[in-house]
Symmetry: C2
Subunit: 251 residues, 2 copies
């Protein structure tokens, strides 16, 4: 049975304050819960139907507690519009203490606000084999349920950390690590030579890369538009991230 | 004054049936309404605050009727979570009768279901100077308010038509127009030579390109993943569209 208190806890994980104080986050949907169960993340509660348990023999041992319930109760607890047969309460991993491998490409996010964008960027990073994402402190919380769901499981694979982006980039520049970002006055990304390592900064949805960060960029890039006349003024930040990653990787 | 009936009409434009029978659609937000006013689309009703009218001298002549009201009333009428100072009821353009220019790159959509994805694809097409999008009859309606808002104005520039995709592509193949699509067994898009014209098919979010369409594809492509081990299994369809368009245009 799923207690009222547990339903309350599930729904409260929509709030950052509760996620921060409890160190927990919520994952919903059969596929996402399967990915959680196959990851190194510590599962506090697995809440699912008898059918889901039948289809996944041996999963009882992977969660601290397993609560079997019916679809109707899952629907009641869920934050999703179309809940499925399983959801899970999961422990947030402790922030990685290990040094970043600066010989690889890293994405840095400067004030990404939209959870859907952050989730999609995680999924893109996962596809392009980018293992680390550095987020500015004002970037939306990675454990926001909308980020988690939009990441389609990438949240279990990509290492993220929140930090003062300015300090992080200053150190990178001192260590001669290339720092890239897209700007209207940047060089054509299709013809510019790109290094295999470096930090690729993606900026805020409305304002792009902030002034404090811009002066740390060593390689200003530009994705050219092929629109004749008055076309779109900008690309969505996740779309721009995909095009940049594609350019870095295709060479 | 905004009448109760008008508010009802605005909200009913969320439904395809009503959009189809009335031939109208809804645009919300200052920037989107500005784009509508600057387009060739015929504006039935402009509903906005006095402040919006002040900031846009001369717009009264651009709409069939202008209804000045307050923010609170706009909030009441709006389908958006954060309504701004203006919304507009707009006539859907009559379907383009002119022949498509097959010497250019065209996007064809095979059962795109998510309005956000379709809107984002319109915005991508706009950026990459792709003027025409052909939609399968089961693709989500382009005048769905969520599509319109996600397009960020591209809806006023891109020509779309809904048709039996199979028939359209059969004719294209007969005319020796290259037909591209992404498949797991396709050729690496980064190294494959691509024509400057052709039809690029993007498939359904869950199932990709359908079997009936697949046999009409003359150029099977693949966006390689750079993930080591078990990474994401797929890219979001809008992300894949962006990467494909970028590859077609960068050459």
């Amino acid at each position: 049975m799923l207690s009222k208190n547990k339903i309350k806890l599930i729904q409260s994980l929509d709030r950052k304050k509760i996620r921060d104080s409890s160190g927990l986050f919520l994952v919903e949907g059969n596929k996402m819960v399967e990915e959680a169960l196959n990851s190194d993340f510590r599962i506090e509660s697995l809440i699912c139907t008898a059918g889901f348990l039948d289809q996944h023999p041996g999963i009882r041992s992977k969660a601290n507690e397993v609560i079997e319930t019916d679809s109707e109760t899952i629907r009641k607890a869920s934050l999703q519009q179309n809940p499925q047969d399983a959801l899970a309460i999961i422990h947030q991993p402790s922030p990685a203490n290990s040094e970043l491998d600066l010989s690889k490409l890293i994405i840095a996010l400067d004030f990404i606000q939209d959870p859907g964008n952050l989730g999609t960027i995680l999924r893109i990073a996962d596809w392009f084999g980018i293992e680390n994402i550095i987020c500015s402190e004002n970037t939306v919380d990675i454990f926001n349920p909308k980020v988690v769901q939009a990441s389609m499981g990438a949240i279990f694979r990509i290492k993220t950390q929140y930090t003062r982006l300015e300090d992080f980039l200053s150190k990178a520049v001192q260590s001669k690590i290339p720092v890239y970002g897209t700007f209207l006055e940047g060089k054509n990304i299709y013809s510019e030579s790109l290094t295999t390592n470096g930090i690729l900064i993606m900026g805020n949805e409305g304002n792009g890369i902030s002034d404090e960060i811009e002066h740390l960029v060593t390689g200003k890039l530009f994705i050219p538009s092929f629109s004749s006349g008055k076309g779109s003024e900008s690309l969505n930040v996740a779309i721009a991230t995909a095009i940049c990653c594609s350019e870095f990787r295709r060479r």
